[in-house]
């Protein structure tokens, strides 16, 4: 029982670290996607304004 706790702690901490890292990458990707959407909106507004002229 005693050694199982150490084994469980080691494996779970390893997977938690890896999942946190993957999660941080997913979050970064979402942030970038939002920025792409904002850039697209800025470009579309700019084109619309140019067409209106």
């Amino acid at each position: 029982m005693g050694s199982s706790i150490y084994l469980f702690s080691a494996f779970s901490s390893t997977w938690i670290i890896i999942f946190i890292y993957i999660f941080s990458m997913v979050r970064k990707q979402r942030t970038l996607e939002i920025r792409i959407e904002k850039l697209r909106a800025t470009l579309e507004n700019k084109l619309a304004a140019e067409n209106a002229r």
């Binding site: 150490y6 702690s9 901490s13 390893t14 670290i17 890896i18 990458m25 990707q29 792409i36």
Partner: protein, 232 residues
């Protein structure tokens, strides 16, 4: 589906399958060691993680040299991403090591040469990542490349620490080969394969993300410049 996507899918499935196979081998195939008991199984994640931390820092070292030589930004990105993943695996080493040490050595931490040099290595690459964030973008590549090259000096020191100085850390690779039984060797080989696939998957994804970020920053600067130019 393009061939690139098929390759990506195969790579992802292979990583997942190798991880499952490694877990099966660790818990159901590998025998329980006589003196250490179940705790010895921590070794199957500790050793590949240490190897991958070294590999990550080695890629940073090579990519830093290539960046200084070729002045191509892609090498700077590769060096940075590899250092980041190296730090992740080094963190795993520094966490799983003390968890193994407590029931075996009866202490969580001791200032043993291998443990101390690994901790120093971790601090060096944490500093590398912090340095990148603190310097100007124009200087980022040069500073980090120099740091990435100098910082690598500690990797062979860490690896050889158990041979150069008196250490209580177990020695896996000796002049007579690897000191473990055959099923343990198979399990270790499988865990190495699974962790290597995970490492390259993470590295590939991180590089892709960093390139995407750079492209967005470049486009956004161009658009802002264009808007500013038209206003004036």
């Amino acid at each position: 589906m393009t061939s690139k996507r098929i390759f990506k899918l195969i790579f992802e499935l292979a990583t997942f399958a190798a991880m499952l196979a490694a877990l099966y081998a660790i818990f159901l195939y590998a025998p329980v060691e006589k003196t250490m008991g179940l705790v010895q199984k921590i070794f199957y994640i500790h050793v590949p993680s240490a190897f991958l931390a070294f590999l990550g820092f080695f890629i940073t070292f090579i990519a830093s040299i290539l960046y200084l030589y070729k002045r191509d930004h892609k090498w700077d990105v590769a060096a940075f991403c590899s250092a980041e993943i190296g730090v992740i695996f080094c963190t795993i080493v520094l966490i799983t090591g003390p968890i193994w040490a407590k029931p075996i050595w009866n202490v969580w931490w001791t200032w043993d040469p291998r443990l101390t040099t690994t901790l120093i290595l971790w601090f060096i690459y944490i500093s590398y990542l912090m340095l990148r964030r603190s310097v100007k973008e124009s200087q980022q590549g040069n500073f980090s490349a120099v740091f990435g090259i100098i910082g690598f000096v500690n990797v062979p020191i860490t690896f050889l620490a158990i041979r150069l100085w008196r250490s209580i850390h177990p020695v896996l690779i000796t002049s007579r080969g690897i000191n473990i039984s055959t099923p343990m060797k198979h399990t270790l080989a499988l865990t190495f394969l699974a962790f290597c696939l995970l490492f390259f998957y993470l590295l590939k994804s991180r590089i892709k993300l960093e390139k995407m970020k750079m492209e967005i920053e470049m486009f956004s600067a161009l658009i802002e410049e264009n808007i500013h130019y038209q206003k004036n």
